[in-house]
């Protein structure tokens, strides 16, 4: 088991009277895929947004590479090497792959663009991820399929020497073959030593690529276990009821003791 690269301890977050996250502990390890599962409203997205610096946390501590840090905004998160790929991808259809990958962080001097540098860097990243499904890095995003767009969005996140990549439902809108491509890509990210967090509702995907599964139940971390130690039905029970046998949040009667 590798060292944790990102560690959250006792995170609490409320929106007014609604307590969304209760003392959540969450660990992301370099070179592993950690799946974050939970029912709708369990707090997955809120947790991701706290990590990304979009929401400030109320209490709790964040350790990055073993050192305590505070993430106050999206800029600080990306400076640490944390990148989020949101569900709606945020790509510009009228721009090509290179232009999208460097959007907002174009390379060049004095306002001028260094196209060759960017094109080479983009191609290097795509090659390192063994992306072979796009013919040219100068293809406009408008003519890419859903899976290819997802690939570009993920590659965009990887381009910046990121250490941790959070993927929000990357396979939700994809067909079977395209899901396959994206899952392969997720696996390769981990093999390259990145810490990958995969949010998904699809248990098949989760069991296929994840090394560890973290289950949120009503804002509490019900269990964070290696994939090989749990079964499909146990995870479903954890998601729906917060516990499964000895796993998960203790029964109230036991907790009182």
């Amino acid at each position: 088991m590798s060292e944790p690269i990102l560690e959250l301890r006792g995170i609490n977050k409320s929106f007014g009277p609604v307590h969304v996250l209760h003392d959540v502990d969450f660990t992301v390890r370099a070179g592993e895929v950690t799946a974050l599962v939970g029912d709708n409203g369990a707090g997955k997205s809120t947790l991701v947004k706290c990590i990304a610096g979009i929401y400030p946390t109320d209490s709790g501590e964040v350790l990055f590479n073993g050192e305590q840090t505070h993430i106050h905004g999206p800029k600080e998160a990306s400076n640490l090497g944390i990148e989020v790929v949101y569900q709606d991808l945020a790509l510009c259809d009228n721009l090509d792959i290179v232009q999208n990958m460097f959007l907002g962080r174009e390379r060049g001097r004095a306002g001028l663009l260094d196209e060759s540098d960017m094109e080479q860097a983009a191609r290097k990243t795509l090659t390192s991820l063994s992306v072979r499904t796009v013919k040219s890095v100068r293809t406009p995003v408008a003519s890419l399929s859903g899976g290819q767009r997802q690939t570009v969005a993920i590659a965009k996140a990887v381009l910046w020497d990121s250490k941790v990549v959070l993927l929000d439902e990357p396979t939700a809108a994809l067909g079977v073959a395209q899901t396959r491509q994206v899952l392969d890509l997720v696996r390769r990210l981990a093999e390259q030593g990145l810490g990958v967090v995969l949010i998904s509702h699809n248990m098949n995907d989760v069991f296929e690529v994840a090394d560890r599964i973290a289950t949120l139940y009503l804002g509490r971390m019900a269990a964070e276990l290696p994939t090989k130690d749990v079964t499909h039905s146990q995870v479903v029970e954890l998601i729906t009821a917060g516990r499964s046998g000895d796993l998960g949040i203790a029964r109230p009667e036991n907790a009182v003791v």
Partner: protein, 485 residues
């Protein structure tokens, strides 16, 4: 030069099948890049793109050829040297306004006030010339202080948005107005440009920061500026531009040597830039067009511009007493603006951000782009460039009247941009579109005039052409959406 990468395919082959029918033409199964394609392949790619709805300027270029053929067969005067030179000068003003409008259209916005805003710039320019720099006397004190107040407001608004170029140019306008510099054609032209900038700051702020839809803001300002022009010039009045330099902007010609000098600089520069860029890309192993195609494109441009330069250096005067020859000044003016505009859009970070905001505002915002500033800046560019257009069209007629920039000026400019292939939905378009579209509209105007058609027919036909161009835009957009699924 490698051709199609050979398919050492694994699972991806099956994977890409789901990519769907039309997309298959654009995306093959394997290989991240093919570096350089064969000419045939590149042509096939181009055809596939056109069929997929990426028409660009193709319809406008074809339309231009058809129009040239039709008009030259119907009218003996159309293809005369004098008329061609005249056509260039006639179309230049509105074409320049269209070039500025492209920036606004790229964001999917519209600036209906560009025409009358240019008229304001023209009338201030004329007033400054006629009253020998005494704007206070020319406008009357109330109007003058209001005018200065609006420019001061523009400076404040631009400073608020940290748009320093807007601040600087608006400040120049205020200075020229307050100091009362003596009449000088160059001062007047600078004043017109700066007044345009100030107007753009106000429009842009209302759209970008107050967030009123641009259609409403600019429709309101279209009316308001029309009133301002009337106030400056006076009901039924006309301000004559009796100045040699101002007259020559649209009516003067380069001499023969300078014409050929322009050809060498423009065509040679184009060839040098395109070829050096092409070979740099090849050397670095980047995506590049086939060398044969690039060379052919350069050759066509060089030969065409050589022919045009030669024809324009011939004597085109009808009488034997005077000799008229040389490339009209408007050609280098339009070329310089074209080069600057293309450079800004293609090569600078700012231009990239304009396309990004036009393509997906939310994505641009998340990428850290200052979207309101970009939105404001395009209106500043549009009005400033429109003021330059105003200098040209005022120079052409030699005077400024209360209708300056009104009437069909704006619709011609929007039409030129759209006919040339700029999308009304944003994100797609180039400055060269405005030039090609402007040439189409100028040809229609000129040709129908020579055929002695009444204004009614000219308006109807121009309107229909604009409608046709907008339909092509909408349909090709739908087609592109289908192709990407």
């Amino acid at each position: 030069m490698t051709d199609t990468p050979t398919g050492t395919t694994t699972g991806e082959k099956a994977a890409d099948k789901s990519g769907g029918g039309t997309a298959q033409a654009a995306i093959s199964d394997f290989g991240i890049d093919t570096t350089s394609r064969s000419t045939g392949e590149a042509l096939r790619d181009y055809v596939a793109r056109v069929r997929g709805g990426e028409l660009g300027s193709l319809p406008a270029l074809l339309g231009l050829v058809v129009l040239l053929v039709v008009f030259s067969s119907l009218s003996d005067n159309f293809l005369t040297l004098g008329n061609i030179a005249n056509l260039l000068a006639q179309g230049a003003g509105k074409t320049v306004i269209a070039m500025g409008l492209v920036f606004v259209l790229l964001l999917g916005e519209i600036d209906l006030s560009a025409g009358t805003a240019s008229g304001v710039a023209a009338s201030v320019m004329a007033l400054h010339l006629v009253k020998s720099g005494n704007l206070l006397g020319g406008m009357g004190s109330t109007v003058f202080y209001l005018f200065c107040g609006i420019i001061a407001l523009a400076i404040v608004l631009a400073a608020w948005m940290r748009l320093w170029i807007g601040v600087a140019l608006s400040a120049v306008a205020l200075l020229i107005a307050l100091i009362g510099l003596p009449a000088n054609p160059w001062t007047e032209m600078l004043l017109a440009l700066c007044v345009g900038t100030a107007i753009g700051c106000v429009t842009g702020f209302l759209v970008a920061k107050v967030r009123i839809p641009s259609f409403v803001v600019t429709l309101a300002l279209f009316l308001a500026w029309g009133g301002v022009i009337l106030q400056f010039i006076g009901q039924g009045g006309t301000l004559g531009l009796r100045d040699d330099t101002l007259f020559k902007v649209a009516n003067g010609n380069l001499n023969t040597a300078a014409s050929w000098g322009l050809f060498v600089i423009a065509a040679g520069g184009y060839a040098a830039v395109v070829l050096s860029r092409h070979f740099t890309r090849l050397r670095k192993g980047l995506v590049a067009q086939p060398t044969a195609m690039v060379a052919a494109k350069v050759a066509v441009v060089v030969v065409l511009s050589a022919v045009v330069t030669y024809l324009l250096t011939l004597n085109r005067s009808h009488s034997d007493l005077v000799k008229i020859s040389g490339v009209p000044y408007v050609v280098p003016i339009v070329l310089v603006l074209l080069v600057i505009g293309t450079f800004v859009l293609d090569r600078t970070r700012y231009g990239r951000h304009i396309y990004a905001v036009g393509g997906n505002q939310e994505a641009a915002r998340r990428a850290g782009i200052d979207v309101p500033k970009i939105r404001m800046s395009v209106f500043v560019i549009c009005s400033s460039v429109a003021a330059l257009g105003a200098i040209i069209y005022s120079s052409k007629v030699g005077s400024v009247d209360p209708n300056a920039g009104g009437g069909n000026t704006l619709l011609y400019a929007v039409g030129a941009a759209v006919i040339g292939g700029t999308s009304l939905f944003g994100g797609k378009g180039r400055v060269s579109n405005a030039v090609i579209g402007g040439a189409v509209l100028a040809t229609i105007d000129n040709g129908l005039g020579l055929l002695k058609q009444p204004a009614a027919v000219v308006f109807v036909i121009t309107g229909l052409v604009l409608l046709l161009a907008a339909s092509v835009d909408a349909l090709s957009r739908r087609r592109a959406a289908v192709a990407s699924r």
